[in-house]
């Protein structure tokens, strides 16, 4: 049993730990947990912005969701965006990381070059891609025209607008994921690859059976981070399409923004935000259940 000075030391150590944690706890409570609780509360009410009037609606906002076609469309767009962007960006990132995981000259330059898009602010990147996708003078259409193919009105065509944003997002995310995966690749002892090479195992088999399992904790992390990012996609849509054309690029976060700040329907926007929170939480739990067990931690 701990008694006397030892007990006092332990108590004061714990007290200090709580004291140090306090500022961040206050911060989290004020800017994260309190707003979540408020949005749950608002979702059961009709809130009029700028006044103190608030009317209890019960589950009316949630019932409205079922019949709101735009909600389902924006949810579908978000899911589609995520399911295409994240696997593609991770695949591109993995291939880039494998290619750049060498001691050849110039690798530092290439690593920086591929990471560069990550450093560009989203709004600036969005503006650049608006220019690149421009129907008349955009370089992408010029290149297509040079190949003798018909021009595409990328951001103004309901069929192409979301794929265009997805493509741009892959470009933006891949460098970030690449850097994380590259760090993981460099943790793999070289002799594991050498042993496989001596066995005559092909490069593709080495990638599938050795590299991927050994970086699985990082891949798992990247998938989770990717999911969180992709469900929060707002800036590109805001800058590039404003959800259009014909809501082809309207995603949940943008729809929440429209309801909350354009239509000033805080109650319904809160309902949508809660649904998004539940959806993302559910999805991450699912990913954890499916991938979490397959993750192999080196040395464990």
């Amino acid at each position: 049993m701990v008694t006397g000075p030892a007990l006092r030391a332990r108590v004061s150590e714990a007290g200090l730990a709580y004291l140090l944690l306090l500022p961040s706890l206050v911060f989290l409570a004020t800017f994260t947990y309190w707003p979540i609780l408020r949005s749950i509360y608002f979702s059961f009410h009709d809130v009029v912005l700028g006044s103190n009037k608030i009317y209890f609606l019960g589950f009316e906002n949630y019932e409205r969701l079922w019949t709101d076609k735009l909600f389902w469309k924006s949810l579908g767009n978000t899911v589609f965006y995520t399911l295409v962007t994240i696997p593609c960006a991770i695949t591109v990132a993995l291939l880039l990381a494998v290619a750049l995981d060498s001691k050849l000259r110039g690798m530092t330059f290439y690593r920086s070059a591929f990471f560069y898009p990550v450093m560009i602010p989203s709004v600036a990147a969005g503006m650049v891609w608006v220019f690149l996708y421009a129907p008349g003078y955009g370089p992408i259409n010029s290149a297509i025209a040079a190949l003798g193919l018909p021009k595409v009105e990328w951001l103004y065509d309901a069929r192409w607008a979301l794929p265009a944003i997805i493509f741009m997002s892959i470009w933006k995310y891949a460098g970030y994921f690449m850097l994380i995966l590259l760090a993981a690749l460099q943790m793999i002892p070289a002799d594991l690859h050498e042993a496989a090479k001596l066995d005559g195992v092909s490069a593709i088999d080495r990638l599938i059976h050795i590299t991927v399992p050994l970086i699985s904790p990082t891949l798992y992390f990247v998938i989770i981070i990717g999911l969180l990012h992709s469900y929060q996609i707002f800036d590109y849509v805001y800058v590039m399409t404003q959800g259009g054309p014909a809501d082809a690029t309207n995603v949940l976060t943008f729809y929440i923004y429209q309801n909350g700040f354009q239509y000033q329907d805080i109650g319904y926007a809160s309902t949508l935000a809660n649904v998004l929170l539940l959806f993302v939480g559910g999805l991450i739990t699912l990913v954890a259940l499916v991938f979490g067990r397959r993750v192999h931690y080196l040395g464990r």
Binding site: D191, E194, L198, D199, G200, S202, P213, R300
Partner: protein, 358 residues
């Protein structure tokens, strides 16, 4: 048959040579040990044989076939790494099967038979379903050897495979490796920095220093007849003492003069400076009287079990003598020393090369 021949094999990194024109022939079923201090080029040489490093100059032949620029998998070799290099996410069984499953046309039952047979030989049958993280160092080592065995390659390469094991296990695994080599008739090239490992395991031992092959021979040959001062001092523990002397031809041999003694050796060369090489067991310690060759002062003694080592200052030199524990001279004592002149070696002081006996 699995003969490995290195003909003038060299390695340079960015123009800086690290292995200099190594000529070495490893016979079929031979256990060849490459030994030398850190940075001597022994691992680089092994990796060049494996195909994990390019050969800058020279040729490498396995079984008469030029494999200098062949891919590692085309050389029919298997390698056991210092770190074992076991795939941590696979069971011991899968570690052993992986290469065969992915690259050979062997049927699954045949692969299974090979694995079980290797496991039997290595006493690891009960460990096959375990992953490396739950295996001890020795067990991992056996799995790594098993992975090499199931491939049934022509040549086995070992890169310091015992250096991560504790002393007791290392001794045990040395015995195991020796047994495997004998029982299975393997051709082995084995790299180590540990001269005891080299001397106990090797059919022949190749000593490298600064990327140059110093001497190749049977362990006792290296110990008894070192060709230069590097080999003389590298092999043997404690190392051979070298006493700086002047030498003058005299009759059929030469007269060797040290500030503390003068003696006669059968070696003959032009007058000059030499190093008289004496191993601890070749020093006879006795009373400091007229019967001894020279007198010295005991500076340090060390008990090493059944024997003791005494460091004796003779003139400006120091030498180490091996004595029975019952006859350890006291510290600071003046003692008489003589040498077993049949066994002492004489080296040219400038080149370090041994002088041949007449």
């Amino acid at each position: 048959m699995a003969e490995v021949v290195l003909q003038g094999v060299s390695k340079s990194y960015q123009g800086k040579p690290t292995v200099h024109a190594v000529d070495l022939a490893v016979a079929d079923k031979e256990f060849m040990v490459l030994v030398g201090p850190s940075g001597c080029g022994k691992s680089t040489t092994l990796r060049m044989i494996a195909g994990l490093e390019d050969i800058t100059a020279g040729r490498l032949l396995i079984d008469g076939r030029d494999v200098t620029h062949a891919e590692p998998q085309k050389r029919d070799i298997a390698m056991v790494f210092q770190s074992y290099a076991l795939y941590p996410h696979m069971t011991a069984y899968r570690n052993m099967a992986f290469g065969l499953l992915k690259t050979s046309s062997l049927s699954k039952p045949e692969i299974d038979r090979r694995i079980r047979e290797a496991a039997e030989i290595l006493h690891i049958t009960h460990l096959l379903e375990r992953k490396p993280n739950v295996l001890s160092g020795g067990e991992r080592q056996r799995v790594a050897i098993g992975r090499a065995l199931v491939r049934q390659p022509k040549v086995f390469l070992f890169d310091e495979p015992l250096s991560n094991l504790d002393a007791k296990l290392r001794t045990h695994m040395r015995g195991e490796l020796k047994r495997l080599h004998k029982e299975l008739g393997l051709t082995v090239i084995y790299v180590t920095h540990d001269q005891i490992e080299a001397m106990t395991l090797g059919t022949r031992v190749a000593i490298l220093s600064d990327g140059r092959l110093q001497q190749v021979g049977a362990p006792m040959d290296l110990y008894m007849r070192p060709q230069n001062t590097f080999v003389a001092t590298f092999i043997g523990s404690p190392e051979m003492s070298l006493l700086r002397c002047a030498m003058k031809p005299n009759g059929s041999g030469s007269v060797v003069s040290h500030p503390a003694f003068t003696t006669h050796v059968p070696e003959r060369a032009d007058a000059g400076e030499i190093l008289l090489g004496v191993r601890p067991e070749e020093v006879i310690v006795g009373p400091a009287d007229g019967t001894a060759l020279a007198c010295g002062r005991v500076d340090r003694t060390e008990l090493i079990g059944s024997e003791a080592l005494a460091e004796i200052v003779v003139g400006a030199d120091r030498l180490v003598a091996r004595t029975p524990v019952t006859k350890v001279p006291p510290l600071g004592a003046e003692v008489g020393i003589s040498f077993d002149m049949e066994r002492v070696r004489v080296f040219d002081a400038a080149s370090g090369r041994v002088l041949s006996r007449l």
